[in-house]
Every structure is written in structure tokens, then in C-alpha cells.
């Protein structure tokens, strides 16, 4: 991969203007925001289920225009600071994917599933601000969405490599694009001035033992991703568990007993989601 090509692709990634999302959450959020009696909490809860809306909200509130870049890491706080007027404008300017594939829906489910696992794990480990871990879990594959939108010509190739050679999506990305979604996440987090802990969760979840500043965040997302793949809730581009870094378990002081409780919680939650979906 030449530096020029990489720079060019990075440029295309960062040039993203219009990130579309799936229609169901967008419609519901629109409806909720139209109602005069909706509370910030209600809206935040709904937005926290969609990675694109969450990313847009965090990007807006951390923009230099507001004057507190890199400080706001939960949707609830972001909405308090943005207000419904600004939120409405974000929603109105968000479009829907023209062609919705099963894989895309699967990615949304996977991200939500990861967010749930991360939130549950953070709460179990008594971490302050468990919501922030859920946010990182929700956004950990955002780079894949942006790459789909900004480098659409390369996506079929990535999928082909995954299918033909049974590589991880991350490995295929590195081969085809020259970089993985974790790298894309890091670029986006910098460009959008997201808080540093979120950035680390987004860019180190595949190598949590290398995270310097916020190791717990990276490790929680790493474990959350592992869990949602064990339960196969949603689709992240490949099927199979990632290597679970033993250091991650150590850093989090995660005991087998806690792991089992986490499995129980997630088993219940994913089953409920699946049951709710079947016709």
C-alpha cells in the first residue's frame, strides 16, 4: 500500500458528509422528538440504539462550535447540551440507506448487542459512568459503516476475501483497504474530537492490551465484542469469535463467576431481542 493511496483513502473517509442509517430507529426518534412531552431521557435511550445517530450527536456536541470538545461521552449529556432544536436538525438531515441489505441490518444488531454487553459488564465491574462503555461498544464498528459509505467500490472485495479465505473482516480490510476499521475509528474520533476514552475504546478493542490511556475501556469493548459474537446476535462481517486477550481479563479483574453472570444476563437479553423480532 503506497502512502499516497492510503492518504487518499483516509481523505475519502474523513470527507464523509452524509452518514445514512436504518429507517426504524430514525422514524421512532423523529416521532418522539415531534411530541412536546418527550423527555431527554426517552430520546437518549432510543438514540443510544443507533450507531449513526449516536455518532452524529456526539460529533455535534464535541464540535469546537460549542466550546467543550472532547468532554461529552454520553448521549444523555449530549442531548441536554444540544437541545431539541439542534437534535431535530440532525434528524432532519439524516437520510436512510437506499438499499438496505441483511448484512447492514446485521451490523446494526451486532453493534447494539455489543453496546448492551459492554454496559452490562461495566455495571457489573462497578465502573463509574457505565453508559460511556455502552457508547464505545455501540460505536466500535462505526468505521465499517463509514468505509461502506465512503469507499463503496472496495466493500465487495473485502467481503469476497472474507468468504473465500475465511479471514476475519479486520484482516480482509487491512488487505484490501490497507487499514482496518479500528484505524478508521481512530481517525474519526480525532477528526470529530470525541472524548479520549471513547477514542481508545473504538481504536483498541482488537488490541486492548496495548491501550495506554484507558485500558479498562478498551478491554470492556474487547470482551463485549467477544460475547456478542459467541451469542451470534447480529452480524459483524464475519462469523467466529475473535481471540480473547488474556490480559484483558486480567486488567478488568474479571472472575469466572462474574463471567458466568454476564453470560446469563446477555443470554436473557439477546433471547428477548430475538423473540421480539420473530414474526
Amino acid at each position: 500500500m503506497t502512502r499516497d493511496l492510503r492518504t487518499e483513502r483516509k481523505g475519502r473517509i474523513l470527507a464523509v458528509r452524509d452518514l445514512p442509517t436504518l429507517p426504524n430507529v430514525l422514524e421512532e426518534v423523529t416521532r418522539l422528538v415531534e411530541r412536546a412531552d418527550s423527555s431527554t431521557e426517552e430520546v437518549a435511550k432510543l438514540i443510544s440504539m443507533d450507531q449513526v445517530l449516536s455518532a452524529k450527536v456526539l460529533k455535534m456536541v464535541n464540535s469546537p462550535v460549542y466550546g467543550f470538545s472532547g468532554r461529552i461521552s454520553t448521549i444523555q449529556h449530549a442531548l441536554v447540551l444540544l437541545g431539541f432544536n439542534v437534535l431535530r436538525s440532525i434528524i432532519v438531515s439524516t437520510s436512510v440507506f437506499e438499499v438496505m441489505t441483511e448484512n447492514m441490518v446485521g451490523l446494526w444488531e451486532h453493534s447494539l448487542g455489543c453496546a448492551m454487553a459492554c454496559g452490562e459488564l461495566a455495571r457489573m465491574l462497578d465502573f463509574k459512568d457505565a453508559e460511556e462503555y455502552a457508547v464505545a461498544g455501540l460505536l466500535h464498528d462505526l468505521g465499517k459503516v463509514v468505509a461502506t459509505v465512503q469507499l463503496p467500490d472496495l466493500k465487495p472485495e473485502i467481503e469476497r476475501v472474507v468468504a473465500e479465505r475465511d479471514l476475519y473482516y479486520l484482516e480482509a480490510e487491512r488487505e484490501v483497504l490497507g487499514f482496518g476499521h479500528d484505524r478508521i475509528n481512530a481517525w474519526l474520533a480525532d477528526y470529530w474530537k470525541l472524548p479520549p476514552n471513547i477514542k481508545e475504546g473504538l481504536s483498541y478493542h482488537h488490541k486492548p492490551h496495548l491501550a495506554q490511556l484507558y485500558p479498562e475501556m478498551a478491554c470492556v469493548v474487547h470482551v463485549g465484542d467477544f460475547i456478542v459474537r459467541v451469542f451470534e446476535y447480529g452480524f459483524s462481517g464475519d462469523v467466529g469469535v475473535p481471540y480473547l486477550q488474556p490480559e484483558a481479563v486480567k486488567i478488568l479483574n474479571l472472575t469466572p463467576a462474574q463471567f458466568e453472570i454476564l453470560l446469563d444476563h446477555m443470554c436473557d437479553q439477546y433471547m428477548e431481542l430475538v423473540a421480539g423480532q420473530s414474526s
Partner: protein, 128 residues
Amino acid sequence: MQKIPLNLAQAGMMLAKAVSRPDGMAVAAAGTELTDTLLERFDAMGVTHVEVDGRPVGLDGAQTSSFCATRLEHLPFLFRKYPNDPWMGQLHRYLAQYFRVKAASCAVLAKTADAAPGPENAATDEDA
């Protein structure tokens, strides 16, 4: 709100979503309180599931069991890239045990629930 199989629905539960005939005609609106008569009517119509308010039914033991059984079945494929890694092997075995035990215990719970006397089970004695 909860979507439950018809045989677990009981009089007194409130419909969260309307029930319609296949041709689209509404048979019972959302907010209707279920009665035995209504439930018989649904059954005759061929309705298999209803959505009710609240969560009157705990997670179905049988469903959980089958969910966990599927997870157990898929584990080898999920772990296919690590046949020789001791740590991942350990994890694999741990998870296999977890799902195996859970599937079994939920199946047992489901069986005892089925076997317990109740109106909806009266006709299905042979199945227990």
C-alpha cells in the same frame, strides 16, 4: 409488552396489539382484556401468538433450552481458528459446558412446567 405463544396466554391479560383475521378484519383491538372465550376463538382461527401488556410470562424454558443448544452446536465453528491454542481451548470448553448445562436445566424446567396441571395443558397430556 411481550409476544407469547397462544397456549401461554390467559384470561385477564391485556392485548397490546390487535388480533386480526388473515383477511385483515380485526377480531380484537389493542387494549382488549383476554377471556377464555376470546382465547378459544383465536385458537379456532389458527392464531399462534399474541402480544400482551407487561411481561406475564417468564422466559420460556423450552425456548431458552433450544437457544442454548444451538449456541452449543455452533461453538466449534466459532472457535475453528484456534484448534491448538490452550487458552482459547479452555474458553471453548468453558462455554460449551455453560451452554450444555443451561440447555439441560432449562429443558428440565420446561418439562416440569408442561407437566404441571393447568387449563392449557389439559388437552396435551400425551405430549408431556
